[in-house]
């Protein structure tokens, strides 16, 4: 197991929501609540998604870009109401729908880093998300 000697901090240009800390689930792939998720089971369900079959429950999702349609704007709130929700969403690029959905569904969201955040954060790493400070801190590598 690798460990870091000190926390590494990544700064996001866009951020909203509460501060949270948790384990990252990382893939160089997109995110859409309608296209990619089985929201009842809490897993990625699109067969071609790189996280297919994996649970997103209480994970800090670190993905490439927001994809697909407008449904996520409602669905994040619906997922929140049932407690089947990721802890936070971290993206390289974001679209308005995910931002609107995060605002409506109380999901911490950060996007826009110097560098590919899906390459900078390893799957399974422990991270702290602090939108007020626009900071994503790598607490421990897996």
């Amino acid at each position: 197991m690798n460990t870091t000697t000190g926390p590494r901090v990544f700064v996001a240009r866009h951020a909203m929501g509460r501060a949270v800390e948790g384990i990252a689930l990382v893939a160089k792939d997109g995110f859409s609540a309608r296209y990619d998720l089985d929201r009842i089971q809490g897993v990625f369900s699109r067969p071609t998604h790189r996280l297919a079959g994996k649970s997103y429950l209480d994970r800090v999702l670190v993905l490439d870009t927001a994809k697909g349609g407008v449904a996520s704007a409602w669905m994040l709130n619906e997922m929140r109401s049932r407690g089947v929700m990721p802890l936070a969403l971290i993206l390289n690029t974001v679209n308005p729908i995910i931002a609107q959905g995060a605002a409506f569904g109380d999901l911490p969201l950060m996007a826009g880093f110097d560098g590919d955040i899906t390459a900078l954060i390893a799957d399974g790493a422990r991270v702290r998300v602090d939108p007020a400070a626009h900071s994503l801190t790598l607490m421990a590598s897996p």
Binding site: R34, Y35, S45, V70, W74, T93, N95, P96, A103
Partner: protein, 410 residues
């Protein structure tokens, strides 16, 4: 964000609780994107199927609709995307009483809020298209990309809560495609052929959407040989938005902001070539051996001209597997009056209106009816339904109808 005096009063609740909630949501989104201020909008269009809303979303709408005091109704024409069912066909679809109850509650709340229940994702063909430079707040990615690109209007993707908020406040944060800077092309695409069929137009949109890759990328496309029809650009844009999250494209010499390449593009932007083989590869990758359980024409809803083509192509056929054709409540009466509905039903098909297949509890429909392998001419629907457990296959309208007769997609 810089707020006007009226907006400050709204945020302070002086217009009532409903506008306050709406504007507070819009400020949060606007500040996330660095919007300087708000821009007035003339229309809003709300995506609000109840699979997306769930109990939580429906209860939120009911909360807004029940607020006493202050202003509760929308300030501008505010219309709806497809509902989550066609009440007249809910038994066929396998929709449960619970699903229908959520739909009924949503409709009741929207009526109290002054929303017009148009239930369509082709409002640019059937209600009122936006005009060049008109700022609007549209939901449904297909509606946005068509309005931005073909009509020259200005909208971001506005999810349901944000589109309703725009209706309630009459404005939206000024960022993204409301700004000139974001409407410039970021990649150039030369195509070496002009599609003829709608599935090909959708597949071309899908290929370019994948190339574009994210919401902020704007493709400018050269090489289209003649003016496409509205239905062609409907499938093209809807698929591009679906595969790429794209909200705007330009066709050189065809769409209003790109009479010349230099109108929208700098010489330095990346250039790509898309060939017929790329389009055929996208279509081919969806094709699987074996039978077809259901054939669906939807996403976007069919125009009157598509209904005519479909009806005439049904002549003399007898379908072995269910064939569903989904249109808007505005088109359906004309299709009835002109005999198209009867022609489709005579072959064994079913015409649905006011819903869209993937927005109508697609997973539950599949489980209720034993449908898994689905043939369609909509690239957008193919892109969506994989996540719902379907094996969706893209083919021409004629090939889909052949499959509805034979049970196999050739």
């Amino acid at each position: 964000m810089r707020l006007t005096e009226e907006e400050q009063d709204m945020l302070a609740g002086k217009s009532g609780e409903v506008p306050r909630i709406a504007l507070a949501h819009q400020v949060a989104v606007g500040e996330f994107f660095g919007a300087a201020d708000f821009v007035p909008v003339s229309q809003a269009h709300i995506m609000a199927d109840t699979e997306s809303l769930g109990e939580a979303g429906v209860a939120w709408l009911e909360m807004l609709a029940a607020v006493k005091g202050g202003r509760r109704r929308v300030r501008i024409p505010t219309i709806t995307d497809p509902r989550g069912t066609d009440f007249s066909q809910s038994v066929l679809l396998g929709h449960t009483r619970k699903m229908l109850g959520l739909e009924e509650r949503t409709i009741a709340a929207f009526v109290k809020l002054g929303v017009m229940l148009t239930d369509t994702c082709i409002n640019y063909q059937t209600v009122q298209p936006a005009t060049r430079g008109e700022h609007v707040a549209f939901g449904d990615t297909g509606v946005v990309i068509y309005s931005n690109s073909v009509c020259g209007a200005r909208s971001n993707f506005e999810g349901g809560p944000s589109a309703l908020a725009a209706g309630l406040t009459g404005r939206t944060p000024r960022y993204g495609f409301h700004l000139d800077a974001h409407r410039r092309a970021t990649l150039k695409v030369r195509v070496d052929f002009t599609p003829q069929r709608l599935d090909e137009w959708g597949a071309l949109g899908g290929v370019i959407g994948r190339l574009a890759g994210n919401y902020w990328a704007v493709p400018v496309i050269e090489g289209i040989e003649s003016a496409p029809t509205s239905d062609a650009l409907k499938h093209f844009g809807a698929a591009m938005a679906s595969y790429g999250s794209s909200a705007l494209f330009h066709l050189v010499g065809l769409t209003p902001e790109a009479q010349r390449l230099s109108d929208v593009a700098d010489a330095s932007i990346p250039a790509h070539v898309v060939t017929r083989a790329d389009v055929e590869a996208l279509i081919g990758a969806t094709r699987k051996d074996g039978g077809v359980d259901v054939v669906v024409f939807s996403a976007p809803q069919l125009s009157l001209l598509e209904m005519r083509d479909l009806a005439e192509s049904c002549d003399g056929r007898k379908f072995r597997v269910p064939m569903l054709a989904v249109t808007s409540p505005q088109v359906k009466p004309d299709a009835d009056r002109m005999g198209y509905t009867r022609m489709i039903e005579s072959a064994g098909g079913t015409v649905l209106s006011g819903m869209c297949f993937y927005q109508s509890y697609a997973r539950e429909i599949a489980e209720a009816n034993g449908w898994k392998r689905l043939a369609t001419n909509s690239a957008k629907m193919v892109n969506i339904l994989g996540g719902y457990g379907y094996v969706p296959m893209l083919a021409s309208m004629q090939a889909c109808l052949d499959a509805a007769e034979s049970g196999r997609l050739a």
